[in-house]
């Protein structure tokens, strides 16, 4: 593995439809993620960021290139994707076979603060609770590599802040490599070690975020990074008092 947990070389992905139009979704892409590193993947809609996550998660085939991904890996989706006919704990334990499955699922639910909703039906959960159940379902597999596909996009702003803290805490506790797909620059700057910016299927920037945690959006370096990334994403930020806080997808 030569130091990197995730290693992507010359990755290209084309869909039948896009190939006809002569436009691959991902073009000749290289990406390394170190063990325990938290990488945010930013890009506009159609930049290919979700495709990259899906290829890394094994949900989609690559057209060419090489791919090394540590196992086990696990995904938290944008929609929680809980099975509505299984109770929360059964959803968390889905597909688990080894050891005391119930005990492991309970421990994971405890970690995300859902111990009081163990036997609830998913349709009775709030958006934040459902997403925490999704996080527990991913973490219970003790992944070496955790893929987060805009998991906070459909959660209200206050709950999202709490989820950010929770994700950072659990990441530090378990230490998986993380790839967070997001369109929210502030979210990337609050959570990740590195921001990778994707545009039309290529990585156009790889920005280290050298800020201490917990991070302070008021820090001058934070604002500077935000401006730089927004620039890369094609958002005009020349005005000195720009109050743009994110890029909508």
């Amino acid at each position: 593995m030569s130091g990197a947990a995730v290693r992507v070389r010359n990755l290209s992905v084309s869909f039948a439809a896009s190939a006809a139009a002569g436009l691959p979704v991902l073009r000749d892409l290289d990406l390394d993620i170190a063990p325990g590193e938290f990488v945010a993947l930013l890009g506009r809609s159609g930049s290919g960021k979700t495709t990259l996550l899906r290829v890394l998660a094994g949900l989609q085939d690559k057209t060419s290139g090489t791919l090394e991904v540590p196992r086990p890996s696990s995904v938290v989706f944008q929609e929680p994707r809980l099975l509505p006919w299984k109770r929360v704990i059964e959803n968390v334990a889905l597909g688990l076979r080894e050891g005391d499955v119930r005990e492991r699922a309970l421990a994971a639910l405890h970690e995300v603060g859902l111990e009081h909703r163990v036997d609830a039906w998913p349709l009775t959960l709030s958006g934040g609770e459902a997403q925490r159940a999704g996080l527990a379902r991913a973490l219970v597999r003790e992944p070496q590599f955790l893929l987060l596909d805009e998991p906070f996009a459909s959660i209200d702003a206050l709950t999202r802040l709490r989820m950010h803290d929770l994700v950072v805490d659990l990441w530090r506790l378990h230490g998986p490599s993380v790839l967070l797909v997001t369109h929210d620059v502030d979210e990337a700057l609050l959570l990740a070690d590195r921001a990778v910016v994707l545009d039309v299927g290529r990585i156009v920037a790889d920005v280290p975020i050298a800020l201490h945690r917990p991070r302070d959006p008021a820090h001058p370096h934070f604002a500077q990074l935000r401006r730089r990334i927004l620039d890369l994403l094609g958002v005009i930020t020349h005005a000195p008092h720009d109050i743009t806080t994110g890029v909508s997808a």
């Binding site: 995904v75 989706f77 099975l83 006919w85 688990l96 039906w121 998913p122 597999r141």
Partner: protein
């Protein structure tokens, strides 16, 4: 044939003034009045017994036949025919829905002919069934089975196809194999529409039994009715119709109970 059951919603508190549910009493008033008028009309000779027997005569017929045991013998025979035909039909419907819904070649091989058969007016098939199976129990059970199979086939297949592909994908990510995915994701996801289909199938089963039993039956509720016609016994005819209705309602209530338990996850507070 199936009578719409009165609503079971909890009435507003102002109606719940005592142990007797006044709203229920109010809803029962007009049917009771109607039966009263019917009885009065019969007693006064306005409704001839050869056209429609009086409620009291119907009850008397019920009493006589219940005591002699003929009634129960016929009911058991009819219920037995529906049970056999319905079970067979549901099994066939489920089997084809699974093959067509889960196996791509099955869709091409079986779905087109099944969609064609579905449009046949199955109640008109009785003469053909008699030629095929004779005049015993087989053609009656076959008719019920034919009628029950399609609602289950169509709704279960529709349910399987409507399962959210995102859930199937998630199951794959979390390590479920193909059979586990079918068992834990696809079938539970298709259960709600399939149970609606089961209720349709039950209605179709009773309806086709009524038709099937009117031809060459020597036992069963249908025989009871046809036999009564020969003797102008309108009381027994109406009694037979009421038995069909009651049995239809009872079996429908059973499926609804199954529905309530199996789909408890949908009852969101």
């Amino acid at each position: 044939m199936l009578i719409t059951a009165p609503t079971t919603a909890v009435p507003p508190a102002r109606f719940r003034t005592g142990p007797i549910d006044i709203r229920w009493a109010k809803r029962l008033a007009s049917p009771i009045a109607l039966v009263g008028l019917w009885q009065a009309g019969s007693s006064l000779g306005l409704i001839p017994a050869s056209k429609l027997a009086a409620p009291s005569a119907i009850f008397a017929a019920f009493w006589t036949l219940a005591i002699s045991g003929d009634l129960w013998r016929d009911v058991v025979v009819s219920v037995g025919r529906v049970a056999a035909g319905f079970t067979l039909g549901v099994a066939i419907g489920v089997a084809f829905a699974l093959i067509v819904g889960l196996w791509r070649p099955g869709d091409l091989i079986f779905d087109p002919p099944l969609q064609m058969l579905r449009t046949l007016p199955y109640l008109g098939m009785t003469p053909l069934l008699i030629l095929w199976f004779g005049i015993g129990e087989t053609p009656k059970i076959a008719l019920v089975a034919f009628a029950s199979a399609f609602p289950v086939y169509l709704t279960l297949l529709g349910g399987i196809r409507a399962v959210d592909p995102k859930l199937v994908e998630a199951a794959r990510v979390f390590g479920l194999g193909r059979w586990e995915t079918i068992r834990q994701v696809i079938l539970p996801g298709a259960l709600a529409p399939a149970l609606v289909g089961l209720r349709y199938a039950l209605g179709a089963a009773w309806l086709s039994l009524v038709v099937g039993e009117q031809i060459n039956a020597d036992r069963g509720i249908g025989f009871m009715i046809m036999d009564a016609r020969d003797f102008l016994r309108t009381d027994v005819i109406v009694l037979g119709l009421m038995l069909y209705a009651i049995l239809g309602l009872v079996t429908d209530a059973i499926v609804r109970q199954i529905e309530k338990r199996a789909l408890a996850w949908r009852t969101v507070a």
